[in-house]
């Protein structure tokens, strides 16, 4: 690996991240679609919990979950499906023809998507906190940052892996993303503590990094709730997330290489409408 190779790939990451970063400013409609609309779902759950006289923390849990839905939707629609859309517009062949690692393109998509989505998630969370008068008692900000980082790396690693696998599904990718929206909201406990599903169901759902990430974030924002709602201790969840980071990034590299090889041999890499 030479300095030139590294620089070229870093520039490629920056280049591919750029449209997503500037897109945040150029399409202001996202404020309505990505903040106001998710808040309506959050509000529905928040009012249910209030009506039931559930512990105050539950409204906070819902707001955190609502904010994290932005990341999951970004993974499904702007990471997993992205290479398929890039193929349709002719960008994919230009990416594939460039003298860079294909991982740089995926990493650029991930970095840009992460920036773009963090803005949305933070906005949802701040507005939710203000509207519903939520009090957070953050105990360990460093651990919070660590949890967020490993969750995002694992999550976007998973998105990178899906991106190449979705090329296999072609036009069916749209349905796969639809199939993975609501079921994952349920399985990952976006609007309730995942512990409620029972240990084995929650353990199975932990393959989606957001499950453990969300559980850990809730524990860090509400340390006084103790073991009552926690699925696993935060340190264990961070350790598992770290393993998922390595696993998903490794698998994304393998699946991308496989897809490129398959695409080049079958000719499907650059054919539209497949």
């Amino acid at each position: 690996m030479t300095e030139t190779w590294l620089l070229r790939n870093l520039r490629a990451v920056r280049g591919r991240a750029y449209p997503r970063i500037v897109g945040a400013n150029r399409e202001p409609s996202w404020v309505f679609f990505d903040i106001v609309l998710p808040l309506l779902t959050v509000a529905a759950y928040a009012y249910i919990y209030k009506f039931m006289d559930a512990p105050k923390e539950f409204v906070g849990f819902v707001i955190l979950g609502g904010a994290m839905t932005a990341f999951w939707l970004n993974i499904l629609w702007s990471m997993a499906s992205q290479l398929y859309w890039e193929k349709e517009t002719g960008n994919l062949s230009l990416f594939m023809m460039a003298p860079i690692s294909r991982m740089s393109i995926l990493a650029g998509m991930a970095v840009g998507g992460l920036f773009f989505t963090t803005l949305r998630a933070a906005s949802t969370m701040i507005i939710g906190i203000v509207v519903f008068g939520i009090t957070l008692s953050l105990s360990d900000p460093l651990m919070l940052i660590l949890v967020f980082i490993v969750t995002m790396i694992a999550l976007y690693g998973m998105g990178m892996m899906f991106a190449s696998l979705y090329l296999v599904f072609g036009r069916e990718a749209y349905h796969v993303s639809n199939l993975m929206t609501e079921p994952i909201y349920l399985a990952s406990g976006f609007y309730f503590p995942v512990k409620a599903l029972g240990f084995w169901a929650a353990a199975g759902a932990s393959i989606i990094p957001i499950t453990l990430g969300l559980d850990a974030l809730r524990q860090l924002f509400y340390p006084l709730t103790g073991e009552q709602y926690q699925f696993l201790p935060v340190t264990v969840e961070v350790a598992i997330l770290a393993v998922l980071c390595v696993m998903f990034i490794g698998l994304s590299k393998l699946s991308l290489d496989y897809m490129e090889k398959l695409g080049k041999s079958t000719g499907r890499l650059t054919l539209r409408w497949q």
Partner: protein, 336 residues
């Protein structure tokens, strides 16, 4: 690195294929038969050449370009670009090439023209300052300077294709593949692009090579140093446009308008004249003479005889075989 020989890479042909074959198999048997898109293609393109690939739809032109640009693997045979094997040394090949296709809709509509071009330059590791400098220079050259801060989605078809052409050339490739780059463009946009392509090849002292596929015979004739005619995945002929035209042994038509000429006897019996017809236009006081020649040498005898009979030549027209005639002879049909 498995290039044939590392030293003297620049002495290698820009493109070389040996018995290159590509077969596409259907995903499922019931979806039809396998298609042989390329069938034993042998081709050598020299550095500094503007080489044309002429063929009807489905002839194998785009398949060949995809293999050369490392997007597709050959089924059998070998292909080398800048001396590197496209299958094994694809990274070395990718550093040296770029491709532009007609009707391309690449890029992102929310970016400006300048940003879009910069983004693609980043995939080739070009420093931002250098990239912007090249982009601004080329936008100016293509008459697009006033569009540089416009969003890509607002561009017309011609402007968009000019942007695509800049995208391909801004990385300063050694070899560029142009897949019908003027497809669907108006006369002006096509002319700007053609002029740029020719300038780019000629100004670089044999360092740069263009492989162009086109449907437009006149474009191929005007631009290309050599042309290969491809059909059914096979190269049917490969030579300079002039030599290709010589392959068509057709009768030349020679038309002569002269001042009124009363005596037309013996014009039809000149050696090399296969057929002779005439028309007297008494109103204009002109005589139109039309000869079908089997031998062009007959022209001088015709002119001498006409002048010897006191007539003056008003106009003279000779029809030459065109690339289209060559194409029809080779392929057996014209473009649809």
């Amino acid at each position: 690195m498995t290039a044939r020989s590392e030293p003297g890479k620049n002495m290698q042909p820009a493109v070389e294929t040996r018995s290159l074959t590509r077969v596409f198999h259907p995903k499922k048997k019931k979806e039809g038969k396998s298609v042989t898109a390329l069938d034993g293609v042998d081709l050598k393109i020299n550095r500094g050449e503007l080489f044309g690939l002429l063929g009807p739809n489905g002839a194998g032109k785009t398949t060949l370009l995809k293999i050369l640009s490392t997007l597709l693997l050959p089924t059998t045979g070998k292909a080398f670009v800048a001396g590197y094997d496209v299958e094994k040394d694809f990274v070395a090949v990718r550093k040296r090439i770029n491709m532009i296709s007609g009707g391309e809709i690449s890029g992102y509509g929310l970016l400006t023209v300048r940003e879009n071009l910069w983004m693609f330059s980043q995939f080739y590791g070009i420093k931002s300052a250098e990239a912007f400098s090249r982009i601004d220079e080329m936008l100016d050259l293509f008459g697009m300077a006033d569009k540089k801060n416009e969003k890509v989605r607002t561009l017309s078809t011609g402007q968009r294709q000019k942007m695509n052409v800049i995208r391909g050339f801004v990385t300063d490739p050694e070899i560029i593949f142009l897949d019908e780059p003027t497809l669907g463009l108006d006369v002006n946009a096509s002319r700007v692009i053609r002029e740029y392509i020719v300038d780019w090849v000629r100004k670089k002292d044999g360092d740069k090579t263009v492989l162009l596929t086109t449907h437009y015979m006149a474009e191929a004739d005007e631009l290309c140093d050599r042309i290969a005619i491809i059909d059914g995945g096979r190269i049917l002929a490969c030579d300079t446009p002039e030599n290709l035209k010589k392959l068509v042994r057709m009768n030349r038509t020679f038309k002569l308008d002269v001042t009124f000429m009363k005596d037309k006897s013996s014009l039809g019996s000149i050696k090399g004249v296969d057929n002779f017809t005439y028309f007297d236009d008494s109103e204009k006081e002109l005589t139109s003479l039309k000869f079908v020649l089997s031998d062009e040498a007959a022209v001088s005898d015709i002119v001498s005889l006409v002048l010897g009979r006191g007539a003056k030549i008003v106009s003279l027209q000779k029809t030459e075989p065109t690339l289209e005639d060559v194409f029809i002879k080779m392929v057996g049909k014209g473009f649809e």
